[in-house]
Symmetry: C2
Subunit: 209 residues, 2 copies
Amino acid sequence: MIQSSYNSTLLENAVSELSKLPGIGRKTALRLALHLLRREENEAVALGESIINMRRHINYCRRCHNISEKEVCPICSDSRRDASTVCVVENVKDVITIESTRQHSGLYHVLGGVISPLDGVSPADLEIDSLVKRVEEENLQEVILALSPTIEGDTTNFYIYRKLADLPVRVTMLARGLSIGNELEYTDELTLGKSIQNRVLFTTSFPRQ
Amino acid sequence: MIQSSYNSTLLENAVSELSKLPGIGRKTALRLALHLLRREENEAVALGESIINMRRHINYCRRCHNISEKEVCPICSDSRRDASTVCVVENVKDVITIESTRQHSGLYHVLGGVISPLDGVSPADLEIDSLVKRVEEENLQEVILALSPTIEGDTTNFYIYRKLADLPVRVTMLARGLSIGNELEYTDELTLGKSIQNRVLFTTSFPRQ
């Protein structure tokens, strides 16, 4: 009696494609598809085309491996930025996050992940050799390690630190300490301990700059 | 210093279109877009095209207002179904839900919503007149009101019931009672009361039939 559970193969296709997205199950996918059916046609077309255009035309910067529409990304080709300082991040999203702080005026280097034997990610899968090459060829003054403070992130930080140890470059990492706005009482002991070890001179210019 | 927060207008476009979807904020939209960038190109293209094709080519059945790729939907044009019984539902999704029970062999009538003065939905916004017309013209034997047991659903049920009162058609509604698998103790009083009022003869063929 039932021909196709959704009564339309076009709807089925859309639901099955949408449900391939992370965190979107078939029920949510159906809700999204039915929402798009209720909206103006041009809205659904704009969504579909923006996805296709993005995937077809975005590439990766050959210097820093950030996403880019050109061969070299806008950050790398911006002469106002400090090309002697490179911030090493796990992925493209972290570039966006750090840019939003407006506290880094140098360039980036996107690793494409962190070392994680459990997930089968070894140093060779990451853009680490290309980082070492950049340090050598671009005469970098400072490499800021900005990976997440997790076991994988710290392992990767340490691996990169060892790789760069013999090169004339300052290797720094992000400070660990209290989260602004969080109660001291709810800060975990490790972080609180680090914030004591790494205490800094009191200043009246507040952390938000 | 920052040119565009995402470093790519293509990415920005995709994120802004994705974040128009219900329940998807800019952070989730960015996560979805970056996921699509990491996948094969054909996967992103398939998603985009399935959305465009669905919106461009799906229409609504002129008889029951369910989604349909043709002028009359596969359910309405299926001669094996009982054309004398019509199940009235709020939306397309409810058709899919009721079809999945395999307990309704008749046709449907999709109202396109329920009466809700707070949301500005009046009877004239819904496919109620066309339902009355169907009852008259198609010589229907039974109309099953299958709206949600909410204030809006019950208001709409009652409104339709009044509209059909003078016509020679049996108007029924879905039973209210215990949810299968739920403890009696956790059933609300109203529902439990209804399940006593509407008790049925004991049978050994279990409800899941």
